[in-house]
């Protein structure tokens, strides 16, 4: 474990990413401490420029809401939705992929048809449709994002299972008499952990982008202030205030960048080194 941490943090990008993400998490966690009132409250004059008023450092939007408060609460929403929808998608993906990869034949065929279907359909469009039909709420958003994100995990897990199933140590497990459920759980799954972790971390980034896109289009949960929503609001005021979309956009970009860097760092740290053969 220690070796892994060393390798991971040696990667400068990964270290920077972790640092950034910790800041975002900290801001989100302390949002209610820093800004006691709801970010939806109109607290000041509209359209105050950033860095002009010390009380509202990042300025206010067209309804007089504090942008900094919006950023802080938005951090919560983005991270929460990103992580939860990814967890759901990964769980479904592992289930589908493991069954398809281990049992093969018609189980594999049926599950792969379903996977291909969900993968071919344009993801954002489907998410939009789902959220629109079931009315935007935290649950429908998480559900919609999870529903369009699980196919790559399933494909990955299936591919790993199919490769590992023919690997000799799995055959050895059969030969010594282990049951299939034990083989799947103790022999195969632990060896698929690395690629799943890497994929999951990159998926979280995509989930955050998708959530912000949905909020931008007006499909966000009305009770939750989201960065995407703030950019959507800024779009209507483009000529009057060109800076309004700057902060939430930067917030999204830096968060997604941080997660991507962490994902790449995980990939480098978890991948086994090239083995040397010999006596």
């Amino acid at each position: 474990m220690k070796k892994f941490l060393n390798r991971f943090l040696a990667n400068r990008g990964a270290a920077a990413g972790t640092f950034l993400l910790l800041i975002v998490i900290a801001v989100g966690a302390s949002a209610s401490l820093l800004y006691e009132e709801s970010p939806w409250m109109m607290v000041a004059q509209p359209l105050i420029k950033p860095f002009t008023d010390p009380a509202y450092l990042l300025g206010t939007d067209m309804l007089g809401r504090d942008i900094a408060a919006g950023l802080a609460y938005g951090a919560r929403v983005s991270l929460m939705i990103g992580v939860i929808s990814t967890l759901v998608a990964v769980f479904v993906g592992i289930l589908v992929g493991a069954l398809a990869g281990y049992y093969g034949k018609w189980v594999d065929d049926a599950l792969m048809r379903a996977t291909e279907f969900f993968q071919t359909v344009p993801q954002l469009a489907m998410a939009m449709v789902l959220v629109a039909i079931f009315k935007p709420s935290l649950y429908s958003i998480v559900g919609a994002i999870a529903m369009v994100s699980w196919p790559p995990v399933a494909r990955l897990v299936r591919a790993e299972f199919m490769t590992l199933k023919t690997r000799e140590f799995v055959q050895a497990a059969v030969v010594i008499g282990q049951r299939p459920s034990r083989i799947i759980l103790t022999q195969i799954l632990p060896n698929t952990a690395s690629p799943i972790i890497v994929t999951a971390s990159l998926m979280t980034a995509t989930a955050i982008l998708t959530e912000s896109a949905l909020s931008f289009l007006g499909l966000g949960d009305r009770n939750l202030m989201s960065w995407g929503y703030m950019i959507g609001a800024a779009r209507t005021m483009l000529r009057e205030s060109q800076w309004m979309s700057l902060w939430p956009g930067l917030a999204i970009m830096l968060t997604v960048l941080a997660i991507n860097l962490i994902g790449e760092g995980l990939n480098d740290a978890l991948n086994p080194q090239l083995r040397k053969r010999g006596a």
């Binding site: 050895a172 497990a173 049951r179 034990r182 632990p190 060896n191 006596a279």
Partner: protein
């Protein structure tokens, strides 16, 4: 055997002087090769022999200038035709590659571009050096394809590499290398990935071409049989140092350096001595009758697929304390038999009587409690142990699955570690920390943990270096004798089979073509294929055992007892 015993009188074609190549820091030693020197003359074949990690391929790559950028030659010279290759700049080297020196590699499939036809790749050599312009180029391609013995050159010219067999691809590589008639040919383990019969053909081809063109050939290999077959001179490498050099006759029959002697001593002897077995064989453990396994290949909506008989009507018996060898080339069905016996594959016909009971029709659930009686040792030491489990856990899993208590299982595991001569601390370590030979010992221990009556060893020593192979074979033999196990040994290496097996089965395309004790198979083969197989063994006329006994220095008893 040796061909050219006259000492070379003309100046050497290639001369390596005091070459040292440093390894980047953190490697297992400071130098990939250290202070090595050797010459190659026109018209002779020099074989560079060594185990993996000996650095034998390093000098070959250095000559061609193909070393990766983190491996730089530190000192020394490489003189080809008077020019020091290490001081030339890239453009000069590039113009020499293919024209004055050429190289062929080990894996012919990955060494050819899958998206270009064979003819295009051969023509490329000429195109790049502006040789044979116009129509002459196509003619030359056909000429070369014929020279290397490929059938129907006009058609094969347009073939994709993946359509050819391994032997054919290697011939294409040779054709590419010879296109511009270079003076020096470097062959880096070109036959290691090929079947024995194909290997024999390629070796003959290389020898013939070398003779006809008077080229100097540097042949890198780990197989002493190959050395005995074609070498004029031999250089032996150990961990980056050149330990012995001389004519083939000298090195093979009167080796001087202890390492060379150890290597030659480890080469499996052709004949098993009569004292190898302590006790007579017992009753039959496994009786296989008319085993069949077929595969359906291809097929689709509009086409019928092909049916391949991987195992075709195979019958044999194995007794307690007896070793049965199943020998064959790739595609002969030998590995398939192994998997069928362990019920890793379903069979399509026949019976497998284990202690009288037919296990073939049993379902997986019915068979599972019986699995402890038949165990397997796998081929790849790197893939056969779960990299995320400790050795201790790997050894305990089997007994635990059959209901033994954890304490019992762990105690047994530690006993087994001792039995296979591994340090007891191995219990808590991960496979990644062990060498190939050590991992195979763990594999043996795992198979023994179940107290089986029958063990199937599927090419269990094929991935190991020759000296390690000898140790593992000895261990297997000792264990079998002590525990009176029945052992089925599957291999493609006739020598290994001859050394440890009491009874041999020769397989060809799914059928058993001949059976019998090794002495009979080798001295009086009945079937045409068996004869072909034996004739193809490289270096048949050379007796490694005699070489060890003939030598002058002390400490021979250790070597001689390496294998009874």
């Amino acid at each position: 055997m040796t061909k050219n015993t006259l000492p070379p009188s003309d100046p050497p074609l290639l001369s390596i002087r005091n070459l040292s190549i440093a390894l980047p820091s953190g490697g297992d030693r400071a130098y990939a090769v250290r202070d090595i020197s050797y010459d190659i003359h026109a018209g002779e074949i020099l074989c560079i022999v060594g185990e993996s990690g000996s650095g034998k391929s390093m000098s070959a790559n250095a000559i061609m200038g193909l070393l990766p950028h983190y491996l730089r030659p530190e000192t020394g010279q490489i003189l080809l035709g008077g020019r020091n290759l290490l001081t030339q700049d890239e453009d000069v080297l590039r113009s020499m590659r293919g024209r004055e020196m050429a190289m062929i590699f080990q894996e012919p499939l990955s060494a050819l571009n899958p998206l270009l036809t064979v003819g295009e790749q051969i023509a490329e050599v000429m195109r790049v050096h502006n040789a044979y312009p116009g129509e002459a180029r196509e003619r030359r391609v056909l000429e070369l394809l014929e020279l290397v013995g490929l059938p129907d050159p006009a058609a094969i010219r347009h073939a994709w590499p993946f359509r050819l067999s391994g032997g054919q691809r290697q011939r294409v590589m040779i054709a590419m290398a010879l296109a511009l008639e270079p003076k020096l040919l470097i062959a880096d383990e070109p036959t290691t990935a090929l079947d024995v019969t194909t290997q024999a053909q390629i070796l003959a081809l290389i020898a013939r071409i070398q003779r006809d063109k008077g080229m100097g050939v540097m042949f890198v290999t780990h197989d002493f049989g190959v050395v005995a077959e074609i070498a004029d001179r031999v250089a032996v490498m150990e961990k980056g140092i050149l330990v012995e050099q001389g004519t083939a006759e000298q090195v093979l029959n009167r080796p001087r350096h202890p390492y060379t002697r150890r290597l030659i001593g480890a080469v499996p002897r052709q004949r098993a001595s009569a004292t190898s077995r302590n006790a007579p064989a017992g009753g039959p453990v496994l009786q296989v009758e008319n085993l069949h396994k077929t595969y359906a290949m291809g097929g689709g909506l509009f086409r019928k697929g092909r049916v391949v008989h991987a195992v075709n009507d195979v019958s044999f018996t194995v007794r307690r304390g007896e070793t049965l060898g199943i020998v064959g080339e790739s595609g002969s069905g030998k590995s398939t038999i192994g998997k069928c016996l362990l019920k890793l594959l379903d069979i399509d016909g026949g019976q497998m009587l284990f202690n009288g009971q037919d296990i073939a029709p049993l379902s997986e659930a019915q068979f599972r409690p019986k699995r402890r009686n038949i165990q397997m040792i796998f081929q790849d030491p790197f893939a056969s142990l779960n990299p995320r489990h400790t050795v201790g856990r790997i050894l305990c899993d089997g007994p635990l699955a059959s209901g033994v208590s954890r304490q019992q299982a762990e105690k047994r595991a530690r006993e087994l570690l001792q039995l296979v001569e591994l340090d007891p601390s191995a219990f808590d370590r991960y496979p990644g920390e062990f060498s190939g030979g050590q991992r195979q010992r763990v594999g043996i221990a795992r198979a023994l943990a179940m107290d089986p009556q029958l063990i199937v060893a599927d090419e269990s020593v094929s991935a190991l270096d020759v000296s390690v192979q000898a140790q593992v074979l000895k261990l297997l033999h000792d264990v079998q004798q002590r525990l009176r196990l029945a052992l089925i040994f599957i291999t493609h290496d006739l020598r290994v089979a001859a050394q440890i097996c009491d009874h041999l089965l020769v397989m060809h395309r799914g059928r058993v073509v001949e059976q019998g004790p090794p002495a009979q198979i080798f001295d009086a083969p009945q079937d045409a294929y068996t004869r072909q197989l034996i004739a193809a063994m490289p270096g048949r006329g050379w007796d490694p055992g005699a070489a060890i006994l003939n030598s002058d220095s002390l400490n021979d008893t250790a070597l001689a007892s390496q294998f009874p």
